[in-house]
């Protein structure tokens, strides 16, 4: 892994910020997200590192990491973030970037049971579609 | 007969607040930043002292452009003055358009006392913009 001017100046940060609507540059690396994440033990890149990589344009490392597909979008991180960065949205944006190079969704919302559709959080549903599409 | 340069030189009246923009103009001078000579500065204590009537009067008397410059919003020497300026002159800008004067002829800029370079740049760009518009004929004819 190497940080270079090309990578730092790449379009990734802008793209992720545009898709997610979140300010990646706002993160000051306090690590509160990673500390509280319930699924962090199985992640290869920790949530705070996701933001750091994105800030530095480490595109390949991000798009090929397992973390994107492990994140449960439970939003524990986002509820404690002092910088108001909605990290699940950032990860969702990264998943989208991967999927845009691959193909469409695997699951259709209508395939889900009424109960799941009613009660599951929207972000959770959307990320589930993405994961199945992988 | 010498060849006369026929390039149109607009006349621009600039109202500058004493604490920021007038100081910015002085700084441009101290730093010897050369800029278009079309601008004539009137010193006012605060941009909120600029009555919209003054601006209309300048257009009436044949000014081709009017610039109001004050401290950056939030940095006003008198606290809140430039907030009033911003509101008043936003309304005036619409009225000027309604009168049929090109809105670019009337500009409001925030220039601090440390922005000599910005002052010079603004003077150049405003002068150039108004030069392209040509002479102001609208209200002048009413006179």
């Amino acid at each position: 892994m190497k940080i270079t001017t090309d990578k730092v100046n790449s379009n990734l940060v802008r793209e992720v910020e545009e898709v997610s609507g979140q300010k990646v540059s706002a993160c000051f690396q306090c690590g509160k997200c990673s500390g509280g994440c319930p699924v962090v033990l199985t992640m290869d890149v920790l949530p705070h590192q996701v933001l750091r990589y994105a800030q530095l344009g480490l595109v390949d490392e991000l798009l090929h990491c397992k973390t994107l597909w492990i994140c449960a979008s439970c939003q524990t991180c986002d509820s404690r973030c002092p910088r108001n960065v909605d990290i699940p949205k950032v990860i969702e944006a990264l998943r989208l970037l991967v999927l845009r190079n691959k193909g469409g969704n695997y699951l259709h919302p209508n395939d889900l049971s009424e109960k799941v559709r009613r009660n599951a959080p929207q972000q959770g549903l959307v990320s589930a579609f993405r994961k199945f599409a992988k | 007969m010498p060849v006369v340069n026929e390039r149109f030189e607009p006349l621009i009246v600039a109202f500058c607040c004493n604490w920021c923009s007038y100081a910015g103009a002085d700084l441009a001078g101290i730093s010897r930043m050369s800029y278009a000579s079309n601008v004539r500065i009137i010193r006012v204590p605060c941009s909120s002292r600029v009555n919209p009537g003054f601006i209309i009067r300048a257009f009436q008397r044949g000014a081709d452009g009017v610039l109001v410059a004050g401290c950056h919003p939030g940095d006003c020497h008198y606290h809140s003055g430039n907030f009033f300026t911003r509101r008043r002159l936003t309304v005036l800008k619409q009225m000027i358009e309604y009168l049929g004067i090109e809105p670019q002829r009337f500009q409001v800029r925030w220039i601090s006392g440390s922005e000599g370079a910005k002052f010079a740049m603004v003077m150049n760009s405003v002068a150039e913009e108004i030069r392209l518009l040509g002479p102001n004929r609208k209200l002048r004819d009413v006179r």
Binding site: F28, Q29, C30, G31, K32, C33, S34, G35, G36, C37, V40, L41, L46, H48, T76, R80, C81, P82, R83, N84 | L11, V13, N18, Y22, A23, A25, D26, A28, G29, I30, R32, M33, S34, Y35, S37, R40, I41, I42, V44, P45, C46, S48, R49, V50, N51, P52, G53, F54, R57, A58, R61, G62, A63, Y78, H79, S80, G81, F84, R88, A120
Partner: protein
């Protein structure tokens, strides 16, 4: 017809290099009202000034235009010149043909044309210049200091030492403020009480200082040199003249309530002195919790008092005094932790705020200076310090850095290692900020010599695990997860402005920023002044700062006050707004835009036809008006004008430019 003299300066070659002075002089001679034109190599020199004075007398000039450098440079110089020749200083007008002409235009023809235009504009304005006079205002040479913490104490002592009278108002029953609560102070580990209490005693004994404790500012009127302040002296229920401070009542009072001074760690009585070294060391009755005031029965304190000092009939008194200047030193509140459920504060007794921990450290605190867990009274072997609780958190706390927490946490870690042998401190931080003299060295000492482990990463959650606390976080630098079982958690709480800062700001007619800290007049060059002349700031009420900075600002405020009081009288700024009575409609739009509260309503009696009618009009207080002119534009009938920058003058300038 005015007799205007125009003096054109070469400024060596600074002006003469780009502007054809002879041509300008010739043009100036033809301008309306100009009877005399002269030029000089350096007008600001003594010779140049003498020439102006001579010309004024010889040619009977009544207005003077000087075409030279910026008025921001030499306006005052030339005003004095004109004044010494017998003219009103405001008869002078300056055409700025250096900074705004010769220095910025290279083309001589364009420069010359612009210089002529600038002089014509100045001549047009000068013709309409009126004589303006500064009003002399008397000064009340007594200062009011609001707040009796270290900032207020220092300001009061410094003012009093210059020989002027000071009244110090403190809301609590004793002086001392936050500093009195602290144990040691960084970076020297001086004992806080040892350096503070002598100053508190100095205040009480200083012949120039009147100390009002248990009192609050109720109302402020007036302006620089002449404030009128009403102070509410709250009913203390104890006669300070009679009370000897023996403390009998404190021991016998049956009503108990959490002690504010001890951060709620122990209880105090309803009749109480906040702490043992209180000044004055005489109690007050907290009526909200006193058994007699709540139930009507008790009066134990009265029975035991040997001096007969208890007075249940005492009432709040409102006393009004005159002051020439005010120093605001109201300090801070600590951040409320309601939104930080993840740190288990309030859910587990061993999760403490930093100020509570400070009381545990303090020899006069609830544990006598021993660090003991509130839950079981055992000394903690491992302590997690969590930084930035409520600071640098725009989501649910303060977006700003509270500035002092990095340093006091280093202090806590050092003191922990000294007081509990074999203990270990873990400090969770986002960034460690140690800008200050000897601060970095102090921080280094915490981790090099005292064994504190610094972990970069904010704690995500604290779980009570039986007797212990499980702290979960991440070490950002290694990417490793952190799970620590500790005996105690200390939260470095952020610093808030006082909850009622806004109300006080309103009374004083000063402003607060978005975090309710009082706003200084200029962030760099006037950090002690407020926008309201005569009111100064000291300490954390202006923004987070540590003790050395607070003391420095307090002394600075004191000098500002002394500088005002050292003057014979104050001269008002003569370029102020003026209301023309017959045009004023009394709709008071001007009052709404005035940032200084300088405009008020006035009822006037006027003749209308045959009868006399009364109506209200606007009135400008020339002492408060700073001359911004915002009101002149807000006024619909055009009844307010700004002296020195009248509508007529500015229009004349516009006309002269557009000739």
């Amino acid at each position: 017809m005015k007799r205007i003299g125009v003096f054109i300066c070469w400024c060596g070659s600074n002006i003469a290099g780009t502007v054809d002075i002879d041509k300008v002089a010739a043009a100036a001679g033809t301008m309306n009202g100009v009877v005399y034109v002269d030029q000089n190599k350096y007008t600001c020199s003594e010779i140049g000034q003498a020439m102006i004075k001579d010309a004024i007398k010889e040619y009977k000039l009544d207005r003077v235009v000087i075409a030279a450098c910026s008025p921001r440079m030499h306006e005052n110089t030339f005003r004095k010149t004109v004044e010494s020749a017998g003219l009103n200083p405001y008869y002078l007008e300056i055409a700025n043909i250096r900074e705004q002409c010769s220095w910025v235009h290279k083309d001589k023809e364009a420069g010359t044309a612009k210089a002529i235009s600038l002089i014509r504009t100045a001549v047009a304005k000068a013709a309409m210049n009126e004589a303006l006079f500064a009003v002399e205002m008397p000064i009340t040479r007594r200062a009011l200091v609001i707040g009796g913490g270290i900032a207020g104490i220092q300001a009061a002592l410094d003012i009093a030492d210059t020989g002027f009278e000071v009244d110090l108002v403190e809301r609590e029953p004793s002086l001392g403020g936050r500093m009195a609560q602290l144990d040691k102070t960084f970076p020297t580990l001086d004992c806080s009480a040892c350096i503070l209490t002598p100053k508190m005693v100095d205040v009480a004994q200083h012949e120039k200082i009147r100390l009002f404790t248990y009192a609050e500012v109720e109302k402020v009127e007036g302006y620089l040199g002449n404030f009128t302040v009403t102070i509410r002296h709250r009913a203390r229920s104890v006669d300070l003249q009679k009370c000897t401070g023996c403390g009998e009542c404190l021991a016998k009072c049956p009503a108990k309530v959490a002690s504010e001074f001890e951060e709620g760690l122990v209880q105090r009585r309803a009749i109480y002195t906040p702490f043992p070294q209180a000044v004055p060391n005489k109690p007050a009755i907290d009526r909200a919790h006193c058994r007699f005031f709540t139930t009507g029965k008790c009066k134990v304190c009265q029975k035991v008092c040997p001096a007969d000092a208890i007075d249940y009939e005492m009432e709040d008194r409102l006393l009004t005094n005159g002051y020439g200047a005010i120093v605001v030193a109201t300090g801070f509140d600590t951040h409320k932790l309601n939104d930080y459920g993840e740190y288990a504060y309030g859910k587990h007794p061993d999760v403490l705020t930093s100020l509570e921990f400070e009381r545990l450290l303090n020899a006069s605190g609830p544990t006598g200076g021993k660090i003991l867990r509130p839950s079981d009274g055992k000394a903690p072997k491992t302590v997690a310090f969590i930084q930035c609780v409520g600071s640098r958190d725009k989501a649910k706390g303060n977006s700003y850095c509270a500035k002092i927490c990095c340093m006091y946490t280093a202090k806590h870690a050092i003191l922990l290692s000294e007081k509990v042998p074999g203990s270990k401190a873990f400090v969770f931080y986002i960034d460690v900020r140690t800008a200050g003299k000897d601060y970095e060295e102090f921080y280094t000492r915490a981790y090099e010599e005292c064994g504190a482990s610094y972990i970069k990463g904010n704690v995500s959650k604290v779980f009570p695990e039986g007797e212990k606390l499980l702290v979960r976080g991440v070490d950002v630098l290694s990417g490793a997860l952190v799970e620590l079982l500790v005996d105690m958690v200390v939260l470095a709480v952020s610093v808030d402005a006082r909850a009622d800062a806004k109300e006080l700001a309103k009374k004083l007619a000063v402003t607060v920023n978005e975090h309710k800290f009082f706003t200084e007049a200029h962030p760099k060059l006037r950090p002690v002044d407020t926008q309201t002349a005569g009111i100064f700031l000291a300490g954390v009420c202006q923004g987070p700062k540590d003790i050395p900075e607070t003391v420095a600002q307090a002394s600075a405020a004191a000098v500002k006050v002394a500088a005002i009081f050292s003057k014979q009288s104050l001269l008002s700024n003569p370029t102020v707004a003026e209301v023309e009575q017959k045009l004023c409609s009394g709709d008071m739009s001007c009052m709404a835009v005035c940032p200084y509260g300088a405009i008020s309503e006035q009822v006037v009696e006027e003749r209308r036809g045959r009868e006399m009618v009364t109506r209200k009009i606007a009135r400008v207080n020339v002492a408060l008006c700073q001359g911004c002119g915002a009101c002149t534009v807000a006024c619909r009938p055009g009844a307010i004008n700004l002296k020195g920058f009248t509508n007529q003058q500015i229009l004349a300038e516009v006309d002269a430019i557009c000739l």
